[in-house]
Symmetry: C2
Amino acid sequence: MSKNINTIKTAFPNFSNDLINEIEANSSFQSFKAGDVIMRTGQYIKSTLLILKGQLKIYREGEDGEEFLMYYLQPGQACAISLICATKNQTSQITAKVVEDVEAVTIPLTLMDKLMMNHRSWYEFVIFTYRTRFEEVLEVIDNIAFRAMDERLEFYLKRHAKACGCTTIHLSHQEIALELNTSREVISRLLKKMEQRGLVTLNRNQIELLM
Amino acid sequence: MSKNINTIKTAFPNFSNDLINEIEANSSFQSFKAGDVIMRTGQYIKSTLLILKGQLKIYREGEDGEEFLMYYLQPGQACAISLICATKNQTSQITAKVVEDVEAVTIPLTLMDKLMMNHRSWYEFVIFTYRTRFEEVLEVIDNIAFRAMDERLEFYLKRHAKACGCTTIHLSHQEIALELNTSREVISRLLKKMEQRGLVTLNRNQIELLM
DNA sequence: CTGCTCGTGTGACAAATGTTACTGTGGCTA
DNA sequence: TAGCCACAGTAACATTTGTCACACGAGCAG
């Protein structure tokens, strides 16, 4: 096995060897730097990305350039939107931005149907991806539909901590405000209250979660 | 062809005859009355519904029983959630309520994989359903994330009119308030403003769209 | 050190939305 | 007819969130 095949196998342990070989033979490896925008709203989708390393965030853009975080993509995952949109010449409904330097496999959309038909493990992966992302998006809807900003902030912090696997969050209040589509002052205010309730410790560019 | 097969063919013109025969042989027809709740949050999904007639609404429930409308299901459609969740013994994340008396085909989840593998037209239907529902949900997110209640109300009214194919909406302010997760007074207020702007005409239990 | 930028804290106020309370009106039924 | 109920209108007020203005301190560049 080549190094690349091993990398795929590690990130996607459920893929059959056949599947990995076919992917390996028909796709390319790509790297992206933190801050890169891989996919933009309105852009045509020509391929699907399998994430091997790093982290992406997927968000929805408002008309005036507001951002709204939907979910993070990590190694072993793929963008649900691209898995499906890719089948018909569709434009992207979301924006994908690199959070930590990413290494990924690019699968051309022309291969998608073939993989789907010939590889059970690919089919299961697609279905699983769709289901989990749909659930995640439903949870996002819950948050904005039913919860006030203080709860949404708590949820956001926890999710972020989970995504990076640590309890210290290195984000400015401004960045958080952007992702929750509110203003810095509101976040400052709410974080202060959380600090008073003993839920967090605040420092410059750093929030320590105590929950 | 039996009457039922004809009905399926009419509502789902893209289904191949083979596919329809297989569905016909392995599934049952069911009717539901307006007001029935077909699927509840937390319930196990044991089958998928293909809608032949009538109308369903799919919504998300909050912890305190709030409702939040996601989309309508109409003839020729199926619940995206059930198409996917059905593959693994999953519980429903949403609630489905009958708006107009429904006739539907119930497909047991055990059949799903087989249909997916053997029928191209089923595969395409599932992918199409997923994609369009995901897009619809993204639009819903846009609305609650980026727009104020007045715009959301306009969007809601237009969508409702589109769903029933007419410009007169027979809903009380209270019902609208529930689906947008706000209070009746707010809806009354906003509708009054819309009337003053000449966008609607208001009558008891009736809103006439002029846009 | 000085001056600058960035991130943060905070008060004052505006706007949107949620809540409470009360009114009126149409239609139904006893 | 009287009484009841669902629906709608609206005023007054509370709460949440957004906006503006300004101050402070850490850290960096000159």
